[in-house]
Symmetry: C2
Subunit: 348 residues, 2 copies
């Protein structure tokens, strides 16, 4: 089976304004100041997993040029432009139908574009093991992360005690939505709960069948669009038909209903970088716990701040504890980290 | 006697970085967001006091073009460029010698360029009274402000009970440097202490004589430069000789030694705007006590902040109490108001 990777890069990153803007969202930004954007790091992780011709990016039409610039060796025809945002199920369906139009016997990893992985070798080992499993099985693998704290920002996977021959590949009992802190503590104590990383591995036939079974309307739309694949009307068909898809996540559409779902409990230093707090946690910090990315940032009496500037020439900060200081293209945000959930509203 | 006004505009405003920079300091900035810079408001105050041909500005050579732009109706020959900063005594001597070269019988007001006056009519009344007094007397008048709080940032004037015929014109007993807070409280309680506004009124002959008596070296330098006044070598002479002057304030050089010094205790809403705190005090504030100047500044849960931005397009502030947030040309400062004395050091 041929390995393929689908990178989902349609998010707008509104929680990270003004670092992330709808015009240039988080996945395209070097949020950690390491010289590469999140999507570049994501693509890099899969270099040994499959040839670049088998890496696909599904994104919003308005980000296609950014993707081309940031991932120049991915073929243009592998950059799939969604004409409207319809959550992950239509996104994955579209990518699946496209891959199948080129390769009937594909084995697929689907991943967000904006998560962080510290131990890339271990990540590749886990992904490879999952691909080996799905190449010989019609099961689904969802990558699970061993929780290190009672995090309330992630969904959880509840594992059963059953495994698929390989003791690392464990049957999923059920999925749990983001819990409150008490529930999260119970999950941590129970020991058989994992964070849901939103990374899925399956073969093309399996996910096609699951989509046909659980969201037949979306599958029909894809069948219709597929009649135009490779022809002069492809873009017009996509434009006309894709927006007819229901807005639904792959979790609701498929994962919660599929019968044969497995997970590999993993530890490779993962974060979805879903908040400024998690960005601070994962970035390099000075002795006072400040994480800063940007030119000439000087801090006096500051603790636990996360600073991200792009156009400012010089920044002097004094007497700030646990604040976000973010600037991009003339927009500035200063906000307490504990109030970061308010950021979405500030930019209305 | 002809009235003349000398506006001293050589300061670099380092306490207000980055709003004020050595390239474009505070006196040239619309710090209150009222549409006019401090020097423009200062010049405006004297319109009814004397014709524009009698308004002089002494500034650093590098600010001459800014002065010409901001005060276009002041004759170029009235803009005196100091080739080096030598504090206020040489500045005032230079202006005095220049005025005398044009008008032997001048009556002069000397004022900083960056102070704030709320009640301009009352200010003009006081200045006019002082000018009337010095047109008929070889005394010096220094404008005194009735203190409203035990301010430690100003020098004080201690008044005697003696007056000069007019009960408003009171003999100065002695000058006091910036006090500690206990002393300032005692001054306030005593009732005969005034803030020293650094605004002086005298006739040209008087200040010339005082300078000749107390700082004869500076007077000699001015005599030498004056031989070139109006000729092709004026600039070269100034360039060569002015830097020979001792760096000394008019307070130390003259005021503390002069025998006949009077003051007019005044209340016209004065501030030297010498700190971000005083800027906050004098600016328009929202219900939460925030003073802000700049485009599209939104504040959530902020109290007592002073915000001054120039190039930022949009600013969102959350959860800040008593902070300075200042930005100009790509430099950003965030600093606790209580720590504003540190700002001078941040920009080193």
């Amino acid at each position: 089976m041929e390995n393929h990777v689908v990178i989902m890069a349609g998010g707008i990153g509104s929680r990270f304004w003004p670092m992330s803007t709808p015009e240039y969202p988080k996945q395209f930004i070097d949020v950690l100041g390491c010289g590469r954007s999140l999507i570049q790091m994501t693509a890099e992780r899969f270099r040994p997993v499959c040839p670049v011709e088998n890496i696909w990016v599904v994104t919003s039409a308005q980000y296609v040029d950014i993707v081309k610039t940031q991932l120049p060796d991915i073929p243009d025809s592998n950059i799939l432009a969604e004409p409207a945002a319809r959550n992950t199920a239509p996104c994955i369906a579209y990518a699946t139908w496209k891959i199948q139009s080129r390769c009937k016997d594909a084995n697929i990893v689907v991943t967000p574009s904006d998560a962080l992985v510290m131990d890339v070798d271990e990540y590749r080992r886990v992904i490879t093991k999952a691909l080996e499993f799905t190449s010989a099985s019609d099961s689904i693998v969802t990558i699970g992360i061993r929780p290190s704290r009672p995090e309330t920002g992630y969904g959880y996977i509840c594992c059963s005690s059953e495994c698929a021959g390989d003791p690392e590949i464990v049957k999923v009992d059920t999925f749990r939505e983001k819990p409150d802190v008490e529930t999260a503590k119970n999950y941590l104590a129970a020991g058989n709960y994992l964070w849901n990383a939103g990374v899925f591995v399956w073969n093309a036939r399996t996910i096609e069948a699951e989509l046909r079974e659980h969201v037949p309307a979306i599958a029909s739309v894809m069948d219709e669009i597929a009649t135009a694949f490779g022809g002069p009307m492809e873009k017009a068909a996509l434009q006309r038909l894709f927006p007819m898809c229901e807005k639904i996540s792959i979790d609701y559409a498929v994962m919660e209903h599929a019968k044969s779902v497995y997970t590999i409990p993993s530890e490779f230093g993962w974060s979805d970088l879903g908040s400024w707090g998690s960005l601070r946690q994962n970035a390099e910090k000075d002795e006072a716990g400040n994480a800063s990315v940007g030119a000439d940032i000087r801090m006096y009496d500051c603790r636990g701040c996360v600073v991200h500037t792009s156009s400012l020439r010089k920044v002097v900060l004094e007497g700030l504890s646990d604040y976000i200081i973010a600037e991009k293209n003339g927009a500035l945000l200063i906000c307490r980290l504990e109030d970061e959930q308010r950021i979405k509203d500030f930019n209305k």
